[in-house]
Amino acid sequence: MPLYYKGLVLTIERTEGALDSQREAESQVPPNRCACIQQMDALIKRLGDIGRLKVPDHFVDEGDGICAIKTRCGLRAYGWYHRKRRGVFVISHYIMKKWQKMKPADKDRAERNRIRYEDGDHE
C-alpha cells in the first residue's frame, strides 16, 4: 500500500520510486539547511490536513496537473491530484533543485509515473 499520510482532507500516497528519490534528494540538502527536511514534512502534512497550500513559494502548478511542493532550500516533491480517486494526492518523486524552473525531464518523469500509477495496481 503506497499510503504515506492519511490527512483530514487528502490522502497522500507515493509511487514506488519516491522513497529512493527522497533519500537521494535529502542527502544533498546542505547540513546548515537540514530543517528543510522537516519543512517538507510540514508542507505534506498540511496539504493532507487542509487540502491545499496557498503560498506560491510552497506549492506551484507546473502545468498538465503536475504540482511541485517546494521548500526554501530547493528540496522539492513533484506530484499530482489523482484523476480517478477523489481526495488523493500522489507524490511522484523528490529532487534537490538548484535551479528555478522545472526541468522537462522532471515533468516527464512525473507524467510517466502518473500514467503508470493511475493505470496500474493502485486503483
Binding site: Y5, K6, I12, D41, A42, K45, K54, V55, D57, H58
Partner: protein, 131 residues
C-alpha cells in the same frame, strides 16, 4: 492505530519533532498571512511596500528563510490592518477548525474572536486562562 510513514518520520526523534514543530508554526503563519493577502488581492510587492521592505524580504518571511520575530509578525498584521491571536494547544489535539488558516489567527478585532473560542480544556489563551 499505527502511525503513517510521514508521522513515523516526524516522530523519529525528539530533535525531528522539535524542528518539525518549528517548521509547522512557520508554515501556519505564512499560510495565514497569504490567506489575508488573497482576501485583499495583495501581491508580495504590495505587502512589501506596506512594510517598507522589498518583495524578496516578504518571500523570505513566507518561506521561512528569514526568522520572523513577533515584532515582524505584529508589523505584518498592522500592515494588513489586523491583529493576531495566539493560543497553545495540546500537541495531540490540534484543532484545525479553530482557524482554517492554522494556529495563529489574524483577525480584524481581537475582541470579536473571543466568542468562537468555546470552553475547551485542551486550549489555553495567551494569558494562561482556559478559554
Amino acid at each position: 492505530m499505527n502511525d503513517s510513514l510521514l508521522e513515523q518520520r516526524i516522530n523519529k526523534s525528539d530533535e525531528t519533532k522539535r524542528v518539525f514543530a518549528q517548521e509547522e508554526l512557520i508554515l501556519d503563519i505564512a499560510e495565514a498571512i497569504w490567506a489575508e493577502m488573497e482576501k485583499r488581492n495583495w501581491s508580495k510587492k504590495q505587502l512589501a511596500e506596506a512594510l517598507d521592505r522589498t518583495p524578496a524580504y516578504v518571500t523570505q518571511l513566507l518561506n521561512g528563510g528569514r526568522n520572523m520575530t513577533l515584532r515582524t509578525l505584529a508589523d505584518v498584521a498592522h500592515a494588513l490592518k489586523l491583529k493576531t491571536q495566539f493560543r497553545f494547544c495540546n500537541e495531540n489535539n490540534f484543532d484545525h477548525n479553530w482557524s482554517s488558516n492554522g494556529q495563529v489567527y489574524l483577525t480584524k478585532s481581537l475582541r470579536s474572536t473571543h466568542a468562537p473560542i468555546t470552553a475547551n480544556e485542551n486550549w489555553q489563551t495567551l494569558d494562561g486562562v482556559a478559554a
